[in-house]
Symmetry: D2
Subunit: 429 residues, 4 copies
């Protein structure tokens, strides 16, 4: 059942050069409709509106995560490390390949808007009546559950989970490299070959040889830079805000019985929170973009305007603040209301925070969220004990407060607002 | 009207590092809904099914073509070449930026299926009642027509057309670099800085300094390699064949009055050949993919099966032949028919040809399809006169004949076909 | 006299792609014997013994520094910034090109061994009876002195010095990129185009637009990583130690009247500290390596053995310590002495420290050693006020203590040393 | 004796990222003085005078050749190809690592000037009283001879020789990639991973799977471009001509009993053709450059001037011709003589030819100089039968004739030469 394929197959990949498929099961999982759907879900959601090159899909990323995991395991096997459980290879590879299977279109925004969780959906697809499940079951009736439990972090082999999800896992390594490649920024160029060479299975964990400390520092710094320069870019945040407002408005209208000129399955079930696995798999970014483009002609002005903004990239402008308190925001909302603007659709507050590396996690000596260095005497040390650089980026990082708003509408309403409010916006109009 | 913008704006681009926007008009053209639509049209159509990284859009490419053109013109201006007409700068830049505006979704297949031409559509959008037209008209009522005439190659300044469309133009240079970058293949790595440095405006033409001969050879070889290794990849051709068959079947069903479970504007007008500019601009790859995914549930088996193949990447397999004559094909079609297979939907013949460089074009001494080298005595020589390499790739290049078919269906029908027919397919089943 | 050259000349460069020479004076400076000598002085001294790719010369680096400076000035001129003094262009370019002219072979070790200073020598060459001086004087009799005063930081236009020597200058940017390229490490990949675009002449300084903060952080982190992973690599330090001991021994022998089998001009004058400019220009790494290879056959065992170690890469091994006090070192030296080893030639202590960025320098509000960010209100802020990352790498960074020694000799002497001493070395033998 | 080393050692390499050393013998060969000497011999001889980045050594290249060979063999072993003789691994690896061991300083010029052959010297070093020989003998007394016979192509296992020296061998693949990397040109970017994946041991040969045809075309084209754009660059040829003339003059003077102000061992033996292995190993580029720099002060004007030209890069200028016959050259020489110029030192004719791929070699059906494609039916086809591109670059390629001369001296002599001679030079003065 678990047979190697006669001749290794390869995918040409710009990041890893080639992705090597050596097992028939991996090949067949890639060819399921559920996995192919990931081609229609962008890896970076709306970031392509900021970095036009960032049009790559979760399909590409998933192959990359699989490839890095395959390389790590091959190395463990070649070197004969006894702490790595050899018969966990396929579980680990399948979990690595499938870990993002449940991502929906514009995942973060959809999850926020409809209170969903992509990890749950991954498990539902892995365990449900799907082609993926069918392929996995060939390795045993309990095999899909094994894979799902790695993903939801309840598997009884901690080292497998630590390989697939940890602060230094294949997922993070691939997305740093891939997102840097496709956006064109220079920050994600980590020395992945070096890091891979220095990983060691050690008891229940994957740890790093002490001599890799600077390489790990560099990796954490790359991650930090990608967060602040790419993932949290204000233009991207602006587009995500508009996206969430579209979902919010459409859901509102649907619950009010509004008659949409255009509606398509399974959006009504999405609004009602009643999606089946089969329906969920219909959702992709093509469908969302198609609905939005059609909705630019809806009668509801709020919805049609927001959809026009998203589709034609007429995003909200923003102003930044170091501090911001509740009463200040209430003030602005009130001024907006009085000036005839909508206090919520026409105003959004955003406060990005990042946790590049969480050294204190749970206060536990060897939390799986820590990166551990292994010295020549087989002693482990948590990296921030040793590295001042890592300490400086540990813990929550806070950006500045951003206030997003539709520039033209606010401009038109300026003379209907008090001066201390209009001063806020004037610099950005 | 034609004002430089206060501070140069940049787009981060993986291929050119930064795209520099220095004119307000360019900035505003990029921000029109018509130009933003290009984000939803992939540069390489279905190639992402072969090279998963090739998910980049015509939006990215169009910015790249603009950037290369801008660099060439800046250099001409900086060096004060008198053969370059300085006041043609904006016409050339706009034509470069907009030359792909009329591309529809999966352009080549749609054009073939519905007998359309993207160049016509580009001109209709530039001249029609669109935001692009509105922005262009600020430079004069005849400005949109100037831009359109460069694109359709009727402008009265040949050197402008030669800059924008020639065998060594910004379009080709950008797509080689970009397609190589996103697919991850190595073949498109041309020394663009060197080529740009050696371009010279000379009378009515853009020519290359003689010392650039080897760089041009290398460029033509890259082009040749990209054609055979990427653009004509049999897996891509297979997906294009299925795409065309979907369009063909849908059009057939529409004309027969079939009631689609799912239909969306403006597909009926597309089938009827009656698209307006406004409707055309609704067409993008999101809409096509959405329709196809919905159609996997159509009652018409032919359509639903083909759509399933395309969306879930269950493509046709193929066999190759050095030669193939009509009667041979007729034989196979007849055998298919008798075995209960569809002689056209279940069988497609493909014969890719490429014309990397057409030295004999029109037999005219200085056809605009030729690449001319300029020696130190201001004499021009057509490159293939000098380069044996270029001669070897001049003229039509022919690949092998490919026969595409649905493997499982043909396999099931093998025992209903004569042996000389089944022998053809057996190697690939 | 200061004429642009008819057609721009270019050098192909792996780091900047092309180096553009637009002024006749620059072209002629590059072609002086003094500048060509830099081809025979490696940019990274002995680092090629650790990173075999690091065989690049100070000639390459000097061209790179010139090119970055040229780009910055061109941009200032193109944008018409009034704070940049336009007529300082040639002074700045010449200072950038020539700033490393006085580097000797294996510069840092030679400077330490013979108490010399490459900056002094640069000025002596610029001002002396040399071809470089002759070329410079064509721009005015005081022009060589202007260039020299920029280099020794006494020029009366602070902004020119700040451009050529500051924590964010062309020198540092080129060496990070170039050393990373030639060693093959990933750490030096800074977004130089972005940094250059955000530089502004502002009063007496070159400052950075506020939005470039993360790019500067990334640059400082790259610098930090290059120091600890490349420049301070223990294998490189080991080779530098041997180099210094060779110089020390040769000087000792020379002063004792030892008759060298092989001696070559101007080494005696080097040992005696009496080098003339003409003699200094005879010194290059070819000469040093030739002398060392010949000296492997000297009768003095200390010298011949050290030269063999350096030329055939039989370097000293090392052990590391977090702490080390004087008495501990004295103990070891004493044990060495008693065991028949040489307490200084057979033992060296190294303690690398780095000052990636010195925010407190002189406590002055706008020291030229600070990096200043310019906000939209034309306010300046020193970068470590804003960036936690920069704060974490500001001030002195300390590595660990390293003890270097000849492994075989120490191994042979182990049984003649007390156990608490031998324990130190055992792990590395 | 042939033991794997406990933990794999790596060298950081810009071209292959890491060089992996897995055998103790390889590690010890690298650390011999004979192999370390290759650090002082540049891979591209005088090319650094044209491409300043090309300062890399034969040491780097030799490691690269070893690494590619190691990858190929590992792949053969992993896939279990039976046509590959498993016990030839160490012979092949050692031959790959050591194949360039006999290269002298500025190898091609020295070989021409003194009628030597680096392959001979490699074998003499491998078989002589050297550290390399000592290490090799640990694998058996006949092991050095085995390695030498692979290098001189007399080994009785043709497949080993075909792996190490063939038109598609590790040597050529490494130098294309490496020389492109260090010069900075774009032409050498071959898809080495793809080529390696498609290599197959087949009977006595290493062949390429048919599907690799385009990748091999691309490799041969890269080779062609590197020859014409880098290796045969006229500036490099000019420096090689001067180099040869220096050697010629020095030898002449030595045989005439001229008293050199500076002389160094083993140059006299080199001039007399009596170098021992021990002496040969003293020769490196440091020694040659040191001698040349000292000789700039020799009394013999011919020698001192030529040395000045080489060391300070005052090279000969050149004019090009499509055709050139003997009588024409005789005419020029005569005119030179009469005008007081030296007919040989002041004039050199160069006619570069390249043989990118020799398909007709020996007319034999499977010459080891051919590249063979393996189809799915195990049939072999010589690549130029299938590829028009390869046919176009097969056979001898001829450049143009170049006439090199000292520009200033010829300029001064113009009025002493007949007009039909002066016309030749005027364009380049």
């Amino acid at each position: 059942m678990l047979s190697p394929i006669s001749e290794e197959k390869v995918f040409k990949d710009p990041v890893h050069n080639y992705i090597h498929v050596q097992d028939d099961m991996i090949w067949r999982l890639i060819n399921t409709p559920e996995f192919q759907r990931l081609r229609r879900v962008r890896q970076l959601g709306t970031s392509y509106l900021t970095f036009h090159g960032a049009e790559h899909s979760r399909f590409s990323h998933s192959l990359g995560v699989y490839e890095i995991t395959r390389k790590i395991i091959s190395q463990f096997e070649r070197r004969g490390y006894t702490d790595w459980p050899m018969d966990e290879r396929m579980v680990a590879l399948c979990a690595a390949l499938l870990h993002d299977l449940g991502h929906g279109p514009f995942s973060h925004s959809v999850e926020e808007a409809f209170d969903m969780d992509h990890e749950d959906w991954t498990c539902r697809i892995v365990l449900g009546d799907t082609c993926v499940n069918e392929v996995l079951r060939e390795a045993g009736d309990d095999f899909p559950e094994k894979v799902a439990s790695v993903i939801r972090k309840t598997y009884d082999k901690p080292i497998v989970m630590n390989l697939v999800t940890s602060p230094l896992d294949a997922d993070r390594m691939d997305y740093l490299l891939r997102d840097a490649y496709y956006t064109g920024v220079n920050y994600g160029t980590i020395d992945i070959d070096r890091i891979l060479r220095l990983l060691r299975p050690f008891r229940d964990r994957i740890v790093v040889k002490e001599s890799g400390m600077h390489a790990v520092e560099d990796y954490l710094m790359s991650r930090y830079q990608m967060y602040w320069q790419v993932y949290f870019h204000p233009v991207t945040r602006s587009s995500e805000i508009i996206l969430r407002q579209i979902f919010r408005r459409a859901k509102e209208l649907h619950s009010q019985g509004y008659r949409f000129k255009f509606m398509i399955e399974p959006l009504p079930s999405l609004f009602e929170g009643s999606l089946s696995v089969r329906q969920y798999l219909q959702l992709d970014e093509a469908l969302i973009q198609t609905a939005f483009l059609q909705w630019t002609a809806e009668e509801d002005k709020q919805l049609s305007e927001l959809c026009g903004r998203f589709m034609h990239r007429k995003l909200y402008k923003y102003v930044e603040f170091d501090m911001m308190d509740e009463s200040f925001i209430d003030d602005i909302r009130e001024a907006f209301r009085q000036a005839g603007l909508h206090p919520e659709y026409d105003l959004a507050i955003d406060f990005p925070t990042d946790l590049p590396y969480d050294r204190f996690h749970s206060g536990m000596p060897s939390s799986e969220k820590q990166i551990l260095l292994l010295d020549r005497h087989d002693q482990l040390r948590e990296i921030s004990e040793v590295s001042e650089i890592v300490r400086s980026i540990s813990g929550i990082h806070q950006g500045r407060y951003h206030l997003y708003f539709p520039a033209e509408k606010v401009k038109d309403a300026l003379d209907r607002m008090p001066k201390h409010i209009t001063d806020i916006f004037r610099q950005s109009l």
